[in-house]
Each structure stands twice: as structure tokens, then as C-alpha cells.
Amino acid sequence: MSAGIQLDDVCCDFGSFRAVDHATVDIKPGEFFSFLGPSGCGKTTILRMISGFIEPTSGVIRIGGQDVKGKRPNQRPTALIFQNLALFPLMPIWENIAFGLEMRGVDKAARRAKAEELLRLVDLPGAADKMVSQLSGGQKQRVAIARALAVEPSVMLLDEPLSALDLKLRQHMRAELRAIQKRTGVTFIYITHDQGEALAMSDRVGVMSQGRIQQIADPREIYNNPVNGFVASFVGENNIIDGTAGPAAGGLAGFDTALGGLRARISPEALGRPVKLYVRPEHTILTEAPGPENAVPVTVTEVSFEGAFISVLTQTETGKVLAAEIRNDGSATVPAIGAKLYASFSAERAALLPDATVRG
């Protein structure tokens, strides 16, 4: 039923522009895999290559172990959900859903029955005879999912299908999509520029930039251990501090900065390369007395109370802005603007990472 997908050193050029640059990834059957990246990073090109609308310039794509080179989209066991959904406005809902079955020569009664069944699956019973224009954004979304599921694809490809929905609906549909994927067991490949979406739904995430896959890992790993500055700053917030790394020992290295000597984790790959220090605001602690390590004297410049947490902006003596987030456990004190405090972070929580644009 569900199939795995391998991209083996796939490149795709449009003229002199390289849209996808040596992409290699192994997506397992039944996995919910997201490609995450800013617009123009090549993620949609990857999706269109898997679905068959674009042929890779070089490299091999395998679906369920089969090389799909030269196969048209209608010969591949994939179903694509378009960003604008591309529902057929001249057909009623049930014909939209049953379109793929009609193309496979299924008779009308069976098509109708299957459409009704899928409408129940996506929680839209009774919409069969409506027209597309009569549905709301979220309902159209469900119809698009049902239409793709109707052909019983081994792989579902989703091209930012939630981007047109409002925030509440989007969060609801996230859970829905995840549930449908679990229920059907179909491999989902999901394209998004929304890190929240990718982290919340996926088994694994591939972060992309400038045509290259920067990191492939599960959401926790992506967030906690980004491999480079691009991944760190694209996924979540960071305080980024410039400086020069000293010799490493036991996975930690000293880091000379304008703020003084700091210490942070360094991975073997980053050794000897120009690096910056990345530390997340929620790992940055504000205290009255200097913390045990990596303490920088700061002045509070801005405080905003967000409910679950308190977001604080501070400035160091050199003018560098450091952000900190204090979790609101019910008794957290809100720092006063102008207060002289120390920002500190544990060396285990900070990482020395090579620059964002790693190429070559």
C-alpha cells in the first residue's frame, strides 16, 4: 500500500539555475516526511520531480524501489495535493473525488460509494452533491485530500496545502492530516515553509536552503541539534554571537567574542571552520548575580508579557541585543526595563555552528 521513496544524488537545473543540488534522501514507507525551507529553496521542485511533472537533470528517483525515470504523473503511484488545491469547479464534489476512479474505469455506482466513504473519512458527510464554490476553505481542503486518497496512492505529496487557511483552521487541519496519515498508513511528503507545521506533524524533516538539503532528522533533533547556522536560525529563534573558536576539548570549545570568553558545544564537522555561537532565547537565563558560566552583563530594554512566557530583550555593554524567554510558571517575576542583570546560558545548550550558507 504505502511505498518508500529514495532520491539518489538528484539535481535539477532550470537553464543555468540549479534548483535542486545533489539531493539524497531515503523516505521510509508510511513515514510523514516534511521538506522545510524558505520559498525558492527547491522543495517544490523536489515534489514535482517525485510526482513526475519535472524530470531530474541527473540522479535517480525510486518509488517503492522502482526507478520512475520517464514515467508520466499518471503512471506513478503518487497523488499530489496542490497549493491552490486545483479542485474541478465544474464538477460536483463527489465527481471531484471520484475523478481518479473514473479514469481507472470504475463504474458509476462504485465511484459514488467510494466518494461517500471518503467524505466520511475526511469528516464531510452530505457534501457529495454540492459544488466546489459552495464549500469553505477548510472543506475544500478536505475534498482535495479525499480526491487524492481515492486513487489509493502509495505516496501522498502535499504542496503547502494549509497555507491558504486561517491560523485556527490550519492548526486543526494539522492534527487532521496527521490523523488521516496514521489511519491510512500512506507515506506523506509534505512541503512547507512553516517550521511549526513541519515540527508538529512530521516523523522526519528535511531542511532545505538554496537547493541543498541541509539536515535530515526528526523534529526534536532539528530543533535541539541543528547542524548549521541556517537550520538553527530558520527553525526557531536564536541569539547569534560572532567570535573565534578556540581549541575544542570534550565536545566543548572556547569562543572569543567582544562580550568576553564564552564556551559552547562544537561538532567535529565545525572544527576549523568559521563559526558563530547560537543560543536559543529560552535557554538564556537572566539573573541578578552572574551565572556559573557564559555570563554577560546586560540591561533590560524591552519586556513583553506573552502569557505562557515572558519575552525580554536586553542589550550588552557593546550594544549587542540578546533575547531571553522566561517561562511563566505562575510565580515568574517580570524584569523591569532598565534593570542591570546578567544573561547566561549553559555551554551544553549553546552551539558553535558554521555559517548559514554551506555549499560545496
Partner: protein, 304 residues
């Protein structure tokens, strides 16, 4: 409009439009309509006791039978009714050929061609329109002539071994009309196909549709208003064309407009000519309305 152009210019524009509508459209048509019910009389008798309204002019289409053979059986049919029927039939044929030529080209222009080369393509399509219709019809007459370039080419390449007489029956008329009016089919379809979201074509393909089903189920239904308005235009223009049948007609072809023309110019019977012209207008309109009803096309679709 008043604010933009001022009262003087606005008045002028309104007057010009009113003049155009009244003097060039309404008055001639009313005259035609009125004339068609009156008998053809010597000048001295016009306005006299015999000058009364009747349907006699219209009923003349039923005068004078001719024999035709259809499915092995012989029929007697009034000669002008036959002419009218053949005019409609061949106009339908012209419309169908125009559609068959225009649809693939329109699809190619709207969805496949590189947008950069589209202006060149449009220019190439438009250039022939810079030449007068008379000249183009004559050009086809020369091309299709027995010793013309088409036969020379086909003889030279060995496709045929003796010259073919192309302008027999309605062949020349159909070729000429297709050539003259194919763009009236092309552009409405092009506009309609262009407005189709390409994702829908891709979605259909992704769901397993072969190319011809994509056209049948997705592209053509979307382009239906364009196809309909193109078909109506080509049909009406073809049925109403006088020039092309006059130049590219053969000894055995007669277009209904030619019959009208003969009533006007040869018989000098303007009353019967008016009646025939009115008949052509009414019957073509009825026919088009019928076809639109049959294909479930609304007038508002075409107006888009």
C-alpha cells in the same frame, strides 16, 4: 464619461453612437423588414391598390422544385430550400473544421508555447488579415486552380499523378470560408483556455487521466463558452458570406446569400430579396439558439 470628457465631447460621442445605431443599423433593417412584405411593382403602381402587405415574397422559397437523390431515393425539393439547407450544412462543416484547427492551436498558444514567442506567433496569425478579403479569396482561387501551385507541388512531390480539380462543388467555398473565419474561432477559445488554472490540468494528469480525457473532461468544459462563441461567429459569418462563395464557388455550388444577391441585382426585385435576407437572419438565429440549447450554453456565457 461626462466628468472625464466634458459636456461637448460627451454629447458628440453620444450623437455619433446614436447616428451609427439609428441610421446604419436600425433604419436599414426596418426598411428591409417593411419592404419584404410588399410586392414588387412597377414604379407607377407603388402606393396603389395592389401595394398591400402579404407573405407572398417569403413563400417564393417554395417555388420551383428540383430533384435530389438522398440515400438512393429521389426527392422533389424547392430549389431555394435546397440552397438554404446546403448553406446551413456547409456552414456547419466550416464551423467543425475551424474548431478542429483552432482548438489544438489555441491550447498550444495558451498552455504550451513559451510566453516569449507568443507575440511572434500572434503576429504571424494576424499578418494575413492585413490583406483584403477579396485578395485572399482570389489568392486561394489561384492556389486551387487546375494548373495552380497546389497541384504543381503535389505533382512534383509525387503525391498525385494527374492534376486534381479542387474547385468542384462546395470544396472551394469551404476552404475559403475556413481560411477567412478560422481566427474568429481561435481567439475566443484561446481566451477561454488561457483562463484555465494549469494546476487543474496537472491535477487531472496526476489522478491518472490520459491526455485526451484531460481535454474532454477538464479543458473543453472550461472552454465551452469560448468554443460556443467562436462557433456562433464562424457559423453566422459563413452562412452570411457572399464574397467567398462568389469567388471560390463552382458551377454546382450556390450559397443562399448568392440567391439573395440575384434577387437584388439580377431580378431587381428588392422586395423578395429583402424577404430572403430576413429569412436567412431569422432561420440562422433560430438554428443557433437551438444549437445553444442543445449544448446547454447560455447567452451570458458567450457574452463573457
Amino acid at each position: 464619461m461626462l466628468r472625464r470628457y466634458g459636456s461637448g465631447l460627451t454629447l458628440l460621442i453620444c450623437l455619433l453612437v446614436a447616428f451609427w445605431l439609428l441610421m446604419l443599423v436600425i433604419v436599414p433593417n426596418i426598411t428591409l423588414f417593411e419592404q419584404s412584405f410588399r410586392p414588387y411593382l412597377p414604379v407607377t403602381e407603388i402606393g396603389g391598390p395592389r401595394d398591400v402587405y402579404s407573405l407572398d415574397n417569403f413563400l417564393k422559397v417554395f417555388n420551383g422544385d428540383t430533384q435530389i437523390t438522398l440515400f438512393g431515393r429521389s426527392f422533389a425539393i424547392p430549389v431555394h430550400v435546397l440552397t438554404f439547407a446546403l448553406t446551413i450544412l456547409y456552414s456547419i462543416l466550416v464551423t467543425l473544421i475551424c474548431f478542429a484547427l483552432a482548438y489544438p492551436l489555441a491550447y498550444y498558444m495558451a498552455k504550451i508555447v513559451n510566453p516569449k514567442t507568443l507575440p511572434t506567433l500572434l503576429l504571424l496569425l494576424f499578418i494575413p488579415l492585413w490583406v483584403s478579403e477579396v485578395l485572399r479569396a482570389f489568392a486561394w482561387w489561384i492556389i486551387l486552380a487546375l494548373k495552380g501551385p497546389l497541384n504543381s507541388l503535389l505533382l512534383f512531390t509525387g503525391v498525385i499523378d494527374k492534376p486534381v480539380r479542387w474547385i468542384v462543388d462546395y470544396n472551394g467555398v469551404v476552404i475559403g470560408l475556413v481560411y477567412t473565419y478560422v481566427l474568429f474561432m481561435l481567439f475566443p477559445i484561446y481566451n477561454a483556455v488561457q483562463s484555465l488554472d494549469t494546476n487543474q490540468i496537472e491535477a487531472a494528469e496526476d489522478l491518472g487521466a490520459p491526455w485526451w480525457k484531460i481535454h474532454l473532461k477538464i479543458v473543453m468544459p472550461h472552454a465551452k463558452p469560448g468554443i460556443a462563441s467562436g462557433a456562433v461567429m464562424v457559423f453566422m459569418l459563413s452562412a452570411g458570406s457572399l464574397l467567398v462563395p462568389s469567388i471560390l464557388g463552382s458551377t454546382t455550388s450556390q450559397w443562399f446569400t448568392q440567391t439573395i444577391d440575384q434577387w437584388f441585382k439580377d431580378a431587381l426585385d428588392w422586395n423578395t430579396a429583402s424577404a430572403y435576407a430576413l429569412l436567412l437572419l431569422i432561420l440562422c438565429t433560430v438554428f443557433v439558439s437551438l444549437a445553444m440549447w442543445l449544448f446547454k450554453v447560455k447567452l451570458s456565457d458567450i457574452a463573457k
